[in-house]
């Protein structure tokens, strides 16, 4: 089994908490986590509902391998309708929260309705209780975490919490667990706060048994760990440099979006990359990076544990930030650094701490600041709006100020909390928003990595690198090298990555394993753990079914093929330096083939035929 086969339903309006049996037919069709929770969401909400209203539901969900000894088997996802994009939101997080939920005996929690006053959910094995959170409201994630620990007094309690940004309506707020892991994208934290739910705390001591074939599971997970250890990326690059191993690589291939994606290479990249985090600083001789830290069960350990230079302007009078905490990952470093033109690693680390402390998606936040900086440059925003702050590209001071304001939801921080799309619309320059379906881009420029353009345009949660990471193939040659500047053949590549990722995200595993693992490594682990036959083919089939289920949800929410596009800048303004010089993204060449492969109509709509093929709910 590996599923616990039961979940909690928490009605925040009535306060009722009930235990329900997991729909095992759905588990067989959608595996778990991302897929299974989406199936529940599709069944239970109107896709056209107000994402921040009581009719939206929020599902915290684990996969069948969450809480097992499979490497990276510690993931959970939050699924709901996104307030940022209007699409399905599905944000994946590591840390220890997901596994703990499993150890308490639960596969997932469905939150519905809205509490009249702030509450938090406490789970101790079988016992789930809604408790008042009035004293926690208005507190940062870090403060609330401390208060909850003082109240509950079990150091092993795992906590997932929203910060002040979510309470103040920032549309890209994250749910932060274990202080610095986050279900980061698409505003799932905003949805949680809209329900007056401040935190979920869980302690599980029941453990996870019931592996279908324990002996084989031990063997195949051991074999798979060896594959990770022997691989240069997962065995050496990620442990040493984290995802930040990519900063200089991506800059060199000319795909590092810079200053709101006006350029594709950043002159200061080497100051903020993975190697820079190892450089001893002048003040105390210590590097930014203290050590690498793992999520539950992860044998890669790409997580960065960092400190900020105590003499840096951002923290010199704030000893509370002189601690170790979650350091820069590549996407955050890019959004806060190259995209805003800032190359001050301590400023970036400070802002990253703030993003964790008050639950903001650093990708969306950084990209929004980048857009605001360009708006400032054009004069659409002036010091009148910023209260005197010169919001200029390259200004570390402006970046830190923007993060503090957005975290608190004060002043211009309220505008920044709208996200890039709404901000640019508000100030009359919608073309400056680097978003798809309202979600900000991650750190790969589609002019230099063609496949990523298609992946962004078609991702079911808006611009996202984690829905089809063709960077692996186009840059790193995994599983085989394709030319990043060539659009031909990328439709099939994108689809294959999208389907495989959907399956991995539904298993309880981390997508970073796929730098080394193919589905042939993953399927046997699922197969040994779960009842039924989980071949590579079935995993891919489940992945494709999940993809189409998400697509169908979006279509019912009013998203059309016209939304499968990129900002004009990426389609018309050619890259001006580097290997991609003179190139734009050739989305128009890739999209028709992609729709055809997906079985959609030429305008990008889900067809009845395809819907029937995957037996999607009507």
């Amino acid at each position: 089994m590996s599923w616990t086969r039961k979940f909690l339903r928490v009605n925040l309006t009535s306060g009722a908490i009930t235990e329900e049996a997991l729909n095992m037919q759905w588990a067989h069709d959608y595996l778990g986590q991302r897929g299974l929770a989406t199936r529940y969401l599709v069944d239970e909400i109107d896709p056209a509902c107000d994402a921040l209203g009581p009719d939206n539901k929020m599902i915290m969900t684990t996969g069948p391998l969450t809480g097992t000894i499979a490497s990276t088997g510690g993931r959970y996802s939050v699924v709901c309708k996104s307030p940022l994009t209007g699409t399905v939101a599905c944000s994946n997080s590591g840390g220890f929260f997901g596994a703990e939920l499993k150890f308490a005996g639960w596969d997932m929690i469905i939150f519905e309705g809205k509490a009249a006053t702030p509450m938090y959910l406490s789970i101790e094995d079988d016992v789930a209780t809604l408790l008042p959170a009035d004293d926690l409201w208005g507190k940062t994630v870090w403060e609330a975490d401390k208060m909850l620990r003082q109240k509950h007094q079990d150091p092993q309690t795992k906590i997932a919490c929203v910060g002040r940004s979510a309470e103040e309506g920032c549309l890209y707020s994250a749910i932060v667990n274990d202080l610095h892991r986050a279900a980061g994208r698409s505003g799932v934290g905003t949805v949680m706060a809209s329900k007056n739910l401040k935190a979920v705390i869980v302690r599980g001591t029941k453990g996870l048994g019931g592996i279908q074939d324990p002996k084989r599971f031990l063997q195949v997970t051991k074999d798979a760990k060896k594959v990770l250890a022997d691989n240069a990326v997962t065995g050496q690059g990620l442990p040493a440099y984290g995802t930040q191993v990519l900063m200089n690589v991506i800059n060199e291939v000319g795909a590092l979006p810079t200053r709101n994606m006006r350029e594709t290479q950043f002159e200061g990249a080497s100051n903020v990359g993975g190697e820079a985090m190892h450089e001893p600083r002048k003040s105390d001789g210590k590097p930014n990076l203290t050590t690498n830290g793992a999520c539950f069960s992860c044998t890669i350990a790409c997580g960065r544990i960092s400190t900020i230079d105590r003499t840096h302007f951002s923290v010199k009078d704030k000893p509370e930030y002189w601690i170790n905490s979650g350091g820069l990952e590549y996407e955050a470093a890019w959004a806060l650094g190259p995209d805003t033109g800032v190359d001050d690693i301590d400023a970036l680390t400070y802002v990253n701490f703030l993003c964790n402390e008050d639950g903001m998606d650093p990708i969306s936040f950084g990209s929004t600041v980048a857009a605001a900086m360009e708006l400032f440059e054009t004069g659409a925003i002036t010091t009148e709006q910023t209260g005197g702050v010169e919001l200029k590209f390259g200004s570390a001071e402006a970046l830190c100020w923007a993060a503090e304001m957005t975290a608190k939801g004060e002043g211009f921080g309220i505008d920044l909390g709208l996200g890039s799309k709404r901000l640019c619309e508000k100030y009359g320059k919608p073309e400056l928003s680097m978003t798809v379906k309202g979600q900000e881009f991650p750190a790969y420029d589609p002019r230099g990595i063609q496949g990523m353009g298609l992946a962004y345009a078609t991702a079911n949660r808006g611009a996202c690198h984690l829905r089809g990471y063709t960077v692996a193939s186009e840059i790193l040659g995994i599983p085989e090298k394709t030319d990043p500047l060539e659009s031909d053949g990328k439709a099939g590549l994108v689809k294959a990555f999208q389907d495989a990722t959907a399956a991995v995200d539904s298993a309880g595993l981390c997508v970073f394993t796929t730098f080394a693992w193919t589905m042939d490594d993953i399927a046997p682990q699922v197969d040994a753990a779960c009842e039924g036959d989980w071949s590579t083919e079935r995993m891919m089939e489940v992945g494709e079914r999940i993809w189409n289920l998400e697509k169908d949800f979006n279509q019912k929410a009013g998203i059309t093929g016209a939304d499968d596009t990129l900002p004009e800048r990426l389609l018309k303004e050619a890259a001006n330096t580097g290997p991609a010089k003179g190139r734009v993204n050739e989305l128009d060449k890739m999209l028709p083939e992609y729709y055809q492969l997906r079985g959609y109509s030429t305008d990008g709509s889900m067809t009845d035929e395809t819907r029937q093929k995957w037996a999607l709910p009507s």
Binding site: L208, G209, G293, S297, G303
Partner: protein
């Protein structure tokens, strides 16, 4: 040659593979709450410290046991709990100044690390060699024993 667990916290990433492996092998489920090795996480310091029984010479637990339920394993030097002899009185859990023998409320017996009979699962599971099983003389065991002597009343 006597071997012992050697723990190097600087190498630990806090992934808890050791806790999962320990509980799986000894309790039948992945359950860190029942693991005999525990990784303590010092968040603010950015440090992870795996911690379990050092099989100390003084064997406070063994000495305190009123019914001879903890015995010296002559092969690997571990102090093993004989589950069918243990009555569950818990005296060992307060006698051990390291806190590494614990009462299991579901079985009514105490549990501690027994080095898995000479092939510790935590060692096999550790991806970073933060926990190794090496010649006892090469470890910091002497240091630990020196520390244990400080706790010693009898000095025998």
């Amino acid at each position: 040659m006597q071997k012992s667990l050697h723990i190097d916290p600087a190498k630990c990433t806090g992934c808890l593979q050791c806790e999962s492996a320990c509980s799986l092998v000894n309790e039948g489920t992945v359950n860190p709450a029942k693991s005999r090795i525990k990784v303590f996480s010092f968040h603010d310091e950015g440090r992870f410290v795996p911690y379990t029984c050092t099989q100390c010479d003084e064997a406070w637990c063994m000495q305190a046991c009123p019914v001879d339920a903890i015995v010296l394993n002559p092969v690997n030097g571990s102090k093993d709990v004989l589950s069918d002899v243990c009555v569950g009185c818990k005296v060992c859990t307060i006698a051990c100044p390291f806190g590494t023998i614990n009462y299991n409320t579901s079985t009514g017996k105490v549990v501690k690390c027994d080095l898995c009979g000479g092939d510790p699962e935590c060692v096999s599971a550790c991806p970073t060699q933060a926990i190794t099983y090496v010649d006892a003389n090469a470890t910091g065991l002497d240091k630990m024993r020196a520390w244990a002597m400080k706790t010693d009343n009898a000095g025998a």
